[in-house]
């Protein structure tokens, strides 16, 4: 049995923004519902209103353009994203990460925007979006703003969104020439399980220094995090194992794993080390 709330199904973005202006503080937005309805049933959330955004056409848009990159509307389901040819072709890391979320049926409802707005530290799409330098488009009745994904998460289950704001889309710039990325997820069971540690990496050939490497993590800090300081180490043209030996202690300072039902903090720290080395080696050797 779910707690009581009022249900709204606006058909235009203007109506959504007006509803948020009026009810925002006591309202929750509903896209796929795969996190929200679980939270309602557990009474972790008791909104007075639930605003279903799936009826808004412009939030259903999914498009790719060589100059602007990928635009994923807030109501686009994960399976729609996964079956888009340009996603497989240009953002294999995103495909890899999103295909580990929930299961096939969950992905028929769940959305990329919902995954980041839920702001779980374990959000699987986040490391991919972080290394791809995604941006989040946000709207309220007062106007629009765009925020880099690395500035979007504010804490465990918290984002920088104001209560009258909605994420309208997530944008990912076109992939850099020759870049390749991958996402490694440690979990207890294939299918449905949340992530114990997730590592996303993106390697791009770079004329001056050889290669640039980006690294991001889920489930090892209050929010998904990008390891900016450690990435700088890879700007030196030296053997991969030397670079990793230097980078890993810096990565370990970026993350702060805790113990929970899915794994202990020592285990998580060890996974960060093992998975990062495995991922960087894999990307390096494929280069």
């Amino acid at each position: 049995m779910l707690p009581k709330f009022d249900y709204f199904a606006p058909q235009t973005l203007t109506e959504v923004l007006e509803l948020l202006e009026e009810h925002g503080r006591e309202a929750k937005l509903l896209a796929g519902g795969t996190d929200l309805i679980v939270g309602l049933r557990a009474r972790e959330r008791l909104p007075e209103s639930v605003i279903d955004i799936k009826g808004v056409k412009e939030l259903q848009q999914l498009s790719y353009d060589e100059k602007r990159g990928l635009n994923v509307g807030a109501a686009v389901t994960m399976n729609k994203l996964l079956h888009h040819d340009e996603v497989s072709k240009n953002y294999p890391i995103l495909k890899e990460a999103v295909s580990t979320i929930g299961d096939h049926e969950i992905r028929n409802r769940a959305t990329l925007a919902g995954n980041i707005c839920n702001a779980s530290p374990a959000a699987d799409s986040a490391p991919a979006l972080l290394v791809l330098d995604a941006t989040v488009s946000i709207a309220s009745r007062k106007g629009k703003r765009t925020v880099a994904i690395r500035e979007f998460f504010a804490g465990v289950k918290k984002t920088i969104l104001d209560c009258n704001e909605i994420v309208t889309s997530i944008d990912i710039p076109p992939p850099a020439e020759g870049s390749r990325g991958s996402y490694l997820k440690a979990r207890r069971a294939v299918g449905e399980d949340l992530c114990v540690v997730g590592v996303g990496g993106l390697l791009t050939p770079n004329g001056k220094t050889g290669k640039t490497v980006r690294l991001a993590y889920s489930s090892v800090a209050p929010t998904p995090v990008r390891a900016f300081k450690a990435e700088k180490v890879f700007e030196n043209n030296r053997p991969i194992d030397e670079l990793l030996d230097e980078a890993m202690p810096i990565v370990m300072k970026t993350v702060s794993p805790i113990s929970d039902v899915r794994g202990g903090k020592e285990y998580r720290a060890n996974l960060v080390e093992v998975l990062t080395r495995r991922l960087v080696h894999r990307l390096w050797e494929a280069a």
């Binding site: 779910l2 199904a9 795969t34 309805i37 639930v50 399976n79 929930g102 969950i106 409802r109």
Partner: protein, 156 residues
């Protein structure tokens, strides 16, 4: 709390239901329409036993509000056999003994049906992916996957 009148197509028949905001599609199917083939178990999206097809796509009906289904088409296990004739997936489930207690069977049959409609000649991996969100605690997955694969080779 407002009542909602919703209209939806269930197993090919137009239905109108009075519901409340906080009622799920699962509840509406079982308690308003008496379609108890759709099972209720974890009610938190983990077990997949409440699977139905929404506009042809398998979804977990415990995670969908009844109001969200307004204007959509739903197929439950009761809508799979036509005029008393079982579908190829259903026949292959019997052939393979792909059930013990049977509680997950409506869900896995629907997931198999949806896969074959989307991809008539699936690989073994495709079938595994299609049923991974549905828990069978009698551990009969091998027979379930074999049944769906063999159904794909049959003429409907």
């Amino acid at each position: 709390m407002a009542k909602h009148m919703i209209k939806l197509t269930v197993n090919g028949t137009d239905r109108a239901i009075e519901t409340e905001s906080n009622k799920t599609l699962l509840w509406a199917l079982r308690h308003k329409l008496g379609l108890t083939g759709t099972k209720s178990a974890c009610e938190r999206g983990d077990c997949g036993l409440c699977t139905v097809l929404l506009d042809g796509v398998p979804v977990k009906s415990c995670l969908i509000l009844a109001a969200e289904a307004d204007g959509h088409s739903i197929v439950t296990i009761e809508g799979i056999a036509k005029d008393g004739v079982l579908s190829p997936v259903q026949r292959e489930f019997i052939e393979h003994g792909a059930l013990q207690c049977g509680f997950c069977t409506p869900a896995v049959v629907l997931a198999g049906e949806a896969l074959l409609r989307r991809k008539p000649s699936p690989t073994r991996e495709d079938v595994v992916e299609a049923v991974e969100g549905i828990l069978c605690r009698c551990t009969g997955y091998r027979q379930i996957v074999d049944a769906v694969l063999d159904a794909s080779k049959m003429k409907p």
